[in-house]
Subunit: 356 residues, 2 copies
């Protein structure tokens, strides 16, 4: 598909971070990147792995003006035996195309995406950290590059993949976080782009995120934009609750992102005989469960953290402390299982891992 | 403010389009651009007018991922006596900062913005077309340039101004357009970014715009995302109606852009003793007015077209033809007045025009 991937080796390899270095998230990048171009009429063409270097576009390129851009995020892990494996890249490829569809951008062959990512990881294999909890974060993105100020779908795009070694999300083990329930700002709405991993969604979320920080909270729990009642998601994570023994998560209404971690967790729980109900969940219901003592666990799920236990929810200036602010049993088991599969310590029964 | 604007003349001037050339919209650009950089701690600095050339950023620059970008659009006109004047640049400067605020971006001194635009227009003054109806479109924009994948406000930005000579919007005089009333997709919602000229809003609108074209319509009339009843705006224009002698326009609910043309029209109409009511307008009300014969005129307003008469509205597969598909008296008078002021044929009583 799209022809052979051309390879231009970087003659100036960077110094790789040492095993003791604090990697942070998305701050340092590997030696190479993958690029594939699109032009109307010609389609996707010229796949290449080239030295990591600045991207240069006309100042009128649509990416600088109209936010026609989508992205993905996934990770490669180094197992104890030194092998490298990627978590469910096929799912990211599918979602990238679903996001593109919403922004009227051309799809990319999904097999190509997965193969290209594998090839790029192989080229920069030495960048996959072996430190416990660390991994190689992979960031595919598509941007509109036509130079022109008319508001219309671009006729040119670039698909780019960059990679960044990232540290353990929880340097000192799983940590419960405080979350602000947001009722003023909206991130997405039915009929909007909330179901897509569209660039503009993230810019739209920044104000509320800054507000959360001001309240000493790690993130925002979004309510739907319409009645400001239904729970949507937590920052860049989906959200789950365990109430009176039942596990629930907001259904895919079109305004939340269909997380791959969410999907994997639903799968695991069902394997364990714990059904997950996907439905509308209102904040009133959470308050009620909190008040009558049936709110057992709450957690966010996403590629960056895998799971993030919610220690307390700040709603209308009142904190609701969950499970005494401690890590729940279920969230712990999910974390151990998923990271176990990712690092090859637990058998990958579902064929989620793709080796490089 | 921010120090003297440094000037680096372009040694390779482009061939300017001739008076007969079809300029289109935003396809060709002048010889220079203005750039101003921001860095946390240092603030805005290093204003410069430099040769128009590609912008180059790290592939991890936030503009490529999170849509943290806002823009403006305004025009410079050449009067019959050869002078160059810009329409209400102070208003665009103000709105740029309001948009930035919503996306947690740092404001820019408004006097600086206006002066910098004037200076840039003076440098490329030969690019201001003298052809009837043509003008120089000015595009200021601010983009997040920090290289980093954490979702957070960028610590670096660039403010850039580029300029494009554009042809008359109506090559053959004012032309009524067909508009599709959209009830599926949403562009904005209360609490979202609809009131800002934020990049992501435009990407979010493309699907509906393509749908409009498929229905042989020029643009979409957006309904609010919540009850899908209240009118919002038309593509990149605000919307006005004349019903039974009364002029009405949707109020600034927070999810529509506060158009500078809209504001100017409200001002002019009030000068003429024609009050404009800014309020919620439902599509049902428009249908009713159409049915009982009181829907006299409908038009969009914006920098690109000034006014755009709506000849028919396509609602639930039924076209409502307005004013026999002809240009209304009011819209005609508004067009003549505003373009008259812009090209210096009519006295600028409100001090809207800023000379270069
Ligand atoms: C808005 C949003 N919701 C949810 C998620 C979780 O998705 P995933 O589990 O695929 O990482 C992400 C991050 O990717 C996100 O950006
Ligand atoms: C969404 C939107 N609404 C309305 C307008 C009209 O605003 P103005 O009259 O300032 O051009 C524009 C264009 O600038 C726009 O992009």
């Amino acid at each position: 598909m799209y022809g052979q991937i051309r390879f231009e080796r970087n003659p100036h390899l960077k110094t790789k971070p040492g095993i003791q270095d604090d990697l942070g998230f998305g701050r340092i990048f590997t030696d190479h990147m993958l690029v594939l171009d699109y032009e109307e009429g010609q389609g996707w063409h010229d796949p290449r792995i080239i030295p990591y270097a600045p991207l240069s576009y006309d100042p009128a390129a649509m990416i600088f003006h109209y936010g026609q851009a989508v992205f993905e995020g996934l990770k490669a892990f180094r197992t104890e035996s030194g092998e490298i494996q990627i978590f469910r890249p096929d799912q990211n490829a599918k979602r990238l195309n679903r996001s593109s569809e919403r922004l009227n951008m051309p799809p990319i062959d999904e097999t190509f995406i997965v193969n290209a990512i594998q090839e790029l990881v192989r080229v920069d294999a030495d960048w996959v950290p072996s430190k416990q909890g660390a991994s190689l974060y992979i960031r595919p993105f598509v941007i509109a590059t036509e130079a022109g100020l008319g508001v219309r779908p671009s006729s040119r795009y670039s698909f780019v993949v960059i990679m960044s070694p990232v540290g353990a999300y929880y340097e000192e083990g799983l940590q419960p976080v405080k979350i602000l329930v947001e009722s003023h700002y909206a991130r997405a709405v039915h009929g909007g782009t909330g179901g897509a991993k569209a660039a503009g969604n993230y810019a739209a979320s920044l104000k509320a995120q800054v507000l959360a920080k001001e309240h000493d909270c790690a993130q925002v729990l979004w309510l739907d934009a319409i009645d400001k009642k239904s729970l949507e998601e937590v920052g860049s994570m989906n959200v789950f609750f365990k109430i009176g023994g039942e596990v629930i998560t907001p259904s895919l209404s079109g305004s939340i992102l269909e997380g791959i971690t969410r999907k994997s967790i639903i799968h695991l729980l069902s394997d364990w005989g714990i059904p997950v109900t996907e439905r509308r969940i209102s904040i009133d219901e959470i308050v009620q469960a909190y008040e009558n003592g049936t709110l057992e666990e709450a957690f966010g799920t996403g590629t960056a953290a895998v799971v993030s236990p919610i220690g307390s929810l700040l709603w209308q200036d009142t904190p609701m402390v969950i499970n005494n602010g401690e890590i729940g049993e279920l969230v712990h088991k999910l974390y151990d299982t998923i990271t176990g599969i990712q690092y090859g310590r637990i058998a990958d029964k579902h064929g989620w891992m793709v080796t490089c």
